[in-house]
């Protein structure tokens, strides 16, 4: 996608496009319901809520002294023979990675699924440098082949049908592949096997960075993460600075939280703990390992009312339970992160010019708060973003005028009664004449719903009330 959907369209426009895809509204609820059901079933009998509270404490404690944790992590990584690079923003992170590729004479790159690399739009930059880049997570591979974007943090092609996947892979194969999930997977596996063998550089994200041991932790189910980080000569891990956790003991809490909340698994098929390049006498592993620590707007949130959003471990659970997300999918949110976490992160990372609308795109149901494995108060953060938008004068004049009129009428019992009596009459007449669609917000309500007709005798006019 060359143009930025976030600035060239509104959420409503993007949502309309997604709502027109019947498959999406079937597949997304089905897949997300399975993840939530598995979480509930597999963790039944475990004190999952107790674990969430421990997780919240770990994240809060770490963020309270993030610089200290990062210094410890950096020292430990360096002691493990890992090169550490600091990137203030997306451009700096891209530059570090491009330079490492250049200096190691790389021509081929394989990638592990990583939202951080999506965030910095890494692939186009590498391709522009003449590198051959291959996404190796099956879903991300299909996304890449289609020139698409992932629409879910954990399940990037949740929005695609199997037929669409088959079509894409058949194009690559140059022949019609059978309509069978395991055969399609086999085809992709063979293709990707070649990519692993030939790659010079493997690029991953980092689910966690353990400070005390200098360990990058990757949680995957397909095994591609292990291939990408052990077969190529160079491994580069791009890690958001907030993904640091202090100790291995903390990891024992965070691991079941991310796998449980993410995919409903007690543990994923692969958990890679990477603590340095190939050592002397070791048979495999990369010759060099780099960690790029990405700020890109994160430090600016420290000490603000939004600090808790840094607790996020990118599990996707809030997307799974979000009633808006399940209707419109991730692409409606316009950038990398969809669902409740995207509605909070996008304006905070990109500024309210681009992402300011997203906090409005929530019914504030609070389901995200209840599922979040580290108890981020997303509902409160959405409210705070809405409030800041108004306080900064960024709300459109129509909204401000509506709020003024409403507050004027509703803040005096006498005005309230007079205005609603007149307004009620108007609505009844307009409704009878079928003219509702011309009544502003009521007209928007009338798209698909009947307008509740105001009662001729409201409760306050019924009998003498003696209070």
């Amino acid at each position: 996608m060359s143009e930025d959907p976030l600035t060239s369209s509104t959420f409503a426009e993007r949502a309309r496009v997604q709502l027109a895809k019947p498959f999406l509204r079937e597949a997304v609820p089905r897949a997300t319901d399975i993840a939530v059901r598995d979480l509930r079933e597999r963790f039944a009998g475990h004190d999952y809520d107790g674990l969430r509270e421990l997780g919240r404490e770990i994240r809060a404690r770490t963020m309270a002294d993030l610089e200290d944790a990062l210094a410890t992590l950096t020292d430990a990584l360096v002691a493990n023979g890992i090169h550490v690079h600091h990137a203030a923003d997306a451009a700096a992170a891209r530059e570090h990675i491009r330079r490492i590729c250049r200096e190691s004479d790389a021509t081929r790159v394989v990638k592990v699924k990583s939202m951080a690399t999506e965030e910095i739009a890494l692939n186009p930059a590498l391709v522009a440098d003449g590198l051959e880049v291959t996404e190796t997570d099956l879903g991300e591979y299909v996304v890449q082949l289609d020139g698409d974007r992932p629409s879910h943090i954990i399940a990037p092609i949740i929005h695609k049908t199997r037929a669409e996947v088959r079509e894409t892979l058949s194009r690559v194969a140059g022949r019609e592949l059978p309509d069978d999930a395991s055969e399609l997977t086999d085809f992709a596996r063979e293709r990707l096997r070649d990519a692993f063998m030939d790659a010079d550089v493997g690029i991953s994200g980092a689910n966690f960075g353990v400070a005390e041991t200098g360990t990058i932790v990757l949680v995957t189910n397909e095994g591609n993460g292990r291939m990408c980080t052990s077969m190529p000569r160079i491994h580069i891990a791009l890690m958001g600075i907030e993904r640091v956790i202090p100790t291995l003991e903390d990891l024992s809490v965070m691991l079941p939280l991310i796998t449980g909340a993410g995919t409903g698994q007690l543990i994923t098929s692969y958990v890679s703990m990477l603590s340095g390049p190939r050592g002397e006498g070791e048979p495999d592993g990369p010759e060099a390992m780099h960690v790029v620590l990405l700020d890109n707007g994160r430090r600016a949130l420290l000490g603000t009312e939004y600090q808790e959003v840094l607790h996020c471990i990118r599990c996707g659970a809030c997307q799974n339970v979000c009633p808006v997300y399940r209707q419109v999918g991730g692409h409606a949110y316009g950038w990398v992160y969809g669902g409740p976490i995207g509605a909070v992160l996008t304006p905070l990372f990109l500024g309210t010019e681009a992402g300011g609308e997203l906090p409005q795109a929530s019914s504030l149901c609070g389901a995200c708060d209840d599922i979040c494995p580290v108890k981020i108060p997303l509902h409160d953060l959405l409210l705070q973003l809405r409030r800041t938008r108004v306080d900064d004068g960024a709300a459109p004049w129509r909204e401000r005028l509506a709020a003024e009129l409403w507050a004027w009428a509703w803040s005096s019992p006498r005005r309230y009664r007079v205005v609603t009596r007149i307004g009620g009459g108007v609505v009844r007449v307009m409704a009878a004449a079928g003219l509702m669609s011309s009544l502003g917000p009521l007209g928007r309500w009338a798209r698909g719903r009947t307008i509740p007709t105001p009662a001729r005798r409201p409760f306050h006019s019924r009998g003498e009330r003696d209070v």
Partner: protein
């Protein structure tokens, strides 16, 4: 939230009925006055001396959720001051308004001249079905009956901010011949969300459809909720499509079941 137990046993002497204030909320007042009357009668049957609140308008939730705090405060102030003139628990037949009042008024009025008043009033707020749930014995004795199949829709804020889910179901359990079927989507948002419903009508309606489809697939005749906002959304959608189920407030169901 404070629990109340009305003096239903006045016949045994000595105990005068507890006084409660009934706050109709603006939606209840303007759009569903009959439902508020049903709630009033139900509370009366439970032996409570019900005093409808005069002079209040709205809890301020629409503006509060849209980020307009000064406007929300201006409106809520009228209601806070009116409610401060009442005594006893303040019963609210609207889950999300009860949540707004008991959970957000203190913050909304922090540092304001009415902060203390708002705190006191907020501490007296109780949701309607939670009050009835403390009088199940009375409801049982009334031989209520409503033949049909029902689903219950949890109001998001009533469920997640007040943690009330068993209470309305227990109340409905007192209605004979009413088969209450569990809905897979019971705790999923109906798509109302205040300004959200007019800002993104297509998404909002799609959310309502998903809920109504679930209710239909379970053969539900009536979808019950304790929140006028959800009722307006789901009822408005069902009416527009000319399809089942009927969508009504729990107080109205009790009224139809014979609690008059």
């Amino acid at each position: 939230m404070i629990g109340i137990r009305g003096g239903a046993d006045t016949t045994r002497g000595g105990h005068l009925p507890d006084t409660v204030a009934l706050f109709p909320t603006c939606l209840g007042d303007l759009v569903m006055p009959d439902t508020v009357e049903h709630a009033q009668h139900a509370l009366g049957v439970c032996g409570l001396d019900v005093r409808p609140v005069r002079g209040g308008t709205c809890c301020g939730q629409p503006a509060f959720n849209a980020g307009f705090h000064p406007h929300a405060r201006r409106v809520a102030r009228v209601s806070v001051r009116a409610l401060a003139q009442t005594t006893g628990p303040i019963v609210v037949p609207a889950g999300s308004c009860a949540a707004m009042m008991s959970r957000h008024w203190v913050g909304l009025f922090a540092g304001d001249r009415d902060a203390e008043l708002a705190r006191q009033v907020a501490g007296r707020v109780v949701e309607f079905s939670a009050v009835l749930a403390t009088h199940l014995d009375v409801l049982e004795r009334r031989h209520l009956s409503w033949p049909g199949t029902a689903g219950y829709h949890d109001s998001c804020h009533m469920l997640r901010e007040l943690r009330l889910s068993g209470e309305p179901r227990a109340v409905l359990g007192c209605v004979r011949d009413l088969e209450l079927v569990p809905l897979a989507s019971a705790d999923r948002c109906c798509g109302f969300g205040g300004t959200f419903s007019v800002r993104y009508p297509e998404v909002s309606v799609a959310m309502a459809d998903s809920k109504l489809d679930d209710a239909r697939s379970r053969g539900v005749d009536v979808l019950i909720s304790a929140d006028p906002g959800c009722l307006m959304q789901l009822g408005g959608r069902a009416e527009r499509t000319g399809d089942t189920p009927r969508v009504i407030h729990i107080a109205t169901l009790l009224h139809e079941a014979g609690l008059r």
